[in-house]
């Protein structure tokens, strides 16, 4: 995505037609029965299973076109294999087995006799999703959208074009097998320019979900008035409190950093209370070296570990996404919270302590999507949190925060059923009172 994304312009009828199709499909999709949505998911899973060879062949074409490049990690993400496809199929079937996220009765209030207000969950509308390199994101996103009754406009990476198209052909097969599915509910946006244009249509697109590099996410956030669900940086912290259990702390810090360093919930900065700095670092250093963690420290840290590099202000703000770890010795809990507040990204931050009061103060004072005590930051994840499936992790302060499951693809509407009541009966001198009585949530709206 280039910087011209910053001022999206409406120009091509192609984009407008595509989005208009999506919007119309949404209007049909959102009232589709759960039974039909689940049946579609099962057929989609079967189609992926049956077309395994075809998908791998198309993927092979992408891989061959890519081989000139030397980016091994990108190649690994681009490459499909039998195991990955089995996981995809398993994932789609899992989504089919989840409870219905829409049509749920969230609140029921009797306003007056014969005047009952329901608050029910409904799908959001048209969701635009952009992702890079990993073509297995397509079936994952499609299944979550279909389950929740949302239409989707998808933009995949150019490097996985053949694989993306192969998956979208299966969507066409699915639509042929199930005429109940409104055609247009899932559309592929081919070029970057088209996706850039799409961001200029808040009247058609209700939510944008970027899944890719921090740079991609930040550029999208800066270039659209459509709500964006996601996060740019994941600069996660662990604070080793003065009353931390050292053995446990070393284990949790190593897991947070090294279990999978490339992901957003991995540890970037370790804050150590000066009272336990020597103790902790004497246990941590050999374990870190063993895991090839590259430590960078503040001046006080380097008094204890003189052989490590110096950390600078840029390090405190950086999601390295590799085995680089910034270490700072702090004066206490408030100092740690202040550092997190200044340099953090409000993603996931934790404390290690055996002191209940300190633990609760940290958990209350750190304003992040996920706050943790005595647990690895790597737990911040939709599957581990028990959501079944994850759309992404959000650092937004509205709509959805932290790991987002199907619930993040829903909103609600109010449904009022009356018997001809008018407002003028409830105002003025002889106004009838409202009862505003909460009723039990039995069944659906």
């Amino acid at each position: 995505m280039n910087s011209s994304m910053k001022s999206p312009r409406k120009s091509s009828h192609l984009t407008q037609d595509l989005l208009s199709d999506c919007k119309n499909a949404f209007l049909a999709l959102r009232t589709l029965e759960l039974k039909i949505r689940n049946q579609a998911l099962k057929i989609f899973a079967d189609l992926i299973e049956q077309n395994e060879r075809l998908l791998l062949e198309q993927n092979q074409m992408d891989l061959e076109a890519f081989e000139g490049s030397n980016d091994e990690s990108l190649y690994a993400r681009l490459k499909l294999d039998v195991t990955k496809l089995e996981q995809v199929v398993h994932g789609v079937r899992d989504v089919a087995s989840l409870p219905d996220p829409v049509g749920q009765l969230l609140e029921r209030t009797q306003l007056d006799s014969g005047l009952v207000l329901d608050k029910i969950s409904v799908p959001i509308g048209v969701i635009a999703i952009v992702f890079e390199s990993r073509p297995d994101v397509i079936p994952q996103i499609l299944s979550l959208a279909l389950k929740s009754g949302n239409a989707v406009a998808l933009k995949g990476g150019r490097e996985s074009l053949q694989t993306n198209r192969a998956f979208m052909n299966l969507v066409s097969d699915l639509e042929r097998q199930m005429p109940e599915l409104p055609s247009g509910w899932a559309k592929l946006v081919d070029t970057r320019e088209d996706f850039r244009e799409l961001l200029a249509y808040p009247e058609f697109v209700d939510l944008v979900i970027p899944r890719g590099s921090n740079e991609l996410v930040r550029e999208i956030m800066n270039s659209t008035q459509i709500p964006v669900l996601g996060h740019a940086e994941g600069v996660c912290h662990l604070y080793i409190h003065a009353k931390a259990d050292i053995t446990k702390s070393v284990e949790v810090a190593i897991d947070s950093k090294a279990q999978y360093p490339a992901v957003c919930n991995a540890l970037e900065t370790l804050l150590i209370d000066r009272k336990v700095a020597k103790d902790f670092l004497s246990g941590f250093e050999p374990a870190a070296i063993d895991k090839a963690i590259e430590m960078r420290g503040c001046p006080k840290t380097r008094q204890i570990l003189p052989n490590i590099e110096a950390a600078n202000d840029k390090d405190w703000r950086t999601e390295h996404g590799n085995l680089t770890l910034s270490i700072k010795i702090v004066d206490g809990l408030d100092d740690a919270v202040a550092h997190i507040s200044k340099f953090g990204s409000h993603h996931t931050d934790g404390i290690l302590t055996e002191d209940a009061a300190a633990r609760e103060r940290f958990l209350a004072n750190v304003d992040s999507a996920c706050v943790m005590a005595n647990a690895s930051t790597r737990f911040a994840d939709g599957f581990r949190f028990g959501m079944g499936a994850e759309v992404g992790i959000s650092t937004a302060k509205t709509h959805a925060r932290g790991p987002v499951g199907l619930e993040g693809l829903t909103i609600y509407k109010y449904v009022l059923r009356g018997k001809g009541q008018v407002v003028s009966s409830y105002v003025g001198q002889e106004a009838k009172p409202f009862s505003h009585k909460k009723l039990p949530l039995t069944g659906r709206s």
Copy 2:
């Protein structure tokens, strides 16, 4: 607000300093105990009561400066009197008596033995509010923000500057009486230019709530990447179905249109099924004339009521906000839903019918924040819906939709409490399973 608002620029340190103060105040405010927040609300109500004369004097200065203008409705909104101030005081005390919107335990999941995940409600952060002419909005907004632990940057109309400042002086008095309140939690933004600038700081401002003309709201929505809670148009519809009770329908339509035509939930377009058009209009016409409703009709309507003006495509999209009513005869329920989908603003739309199947089909198929059967559109309101207090009505598809109470000023965070668990125990060949057991919601997090 002029059109240069469309490209906000960061330039003045004033705005940045003000927002930075707000953000710091928020960090202290959000963990303030309910008891203290409620006490502050009660003192604030007392201060307004005690300073009634001063407030009215300052308001008189605004009114005198305004008298050159001829806008009577604006003058009426600008003017404070004893009754309005009593309502304000009552409103602030009501907010004090509402349940705590933050710190509520929303979900509790045991991930594994000794590893428990809480989802708790928390305030959003810094909320920027812009409003026009009605200075009594200030205490209303301040009390909602304080109750929910959010800091606010307020921009009032220039015409109510003295009154706005008088209310803000009471905030200073409140802070002197209660040193527990972090200073800076409520700031007045003086000029339009400063507010325009503020919209360019998503790093400081978490939510914008515009309360004013449709034009103001639309301009703000088009000029910031910060989430905006509100609505531009309220083009509300009623559809008189073929099986409607005519007497009831006339009464509901008259109430929806004429009970308070200037507000967003008032009726703008009446859609009448052709099967009952003559019947309905013969009852509706005299009642409409009696209320001075100015009808505009489609060609078929004008065959029945030849003396009314013709409605054009612009009328279908217009929130008149006065006694002008557009009338269209439609071919049936699907035609009505299609009209609402094409011309509506997704605010509030209703059906009049005695047929349960038609009712449910309409309620499911109309994609609006509030959908109603056999009830006046004027019920779409936070107080009538039983929320106690209202921030505004939202037509957004994310975060909050329809009338928004205190809940719309909150978001959630995840709190994980463990005993030193690491993710590596839960992956690979000998992975421990997660229990993902929902626990009862007893007490607070």
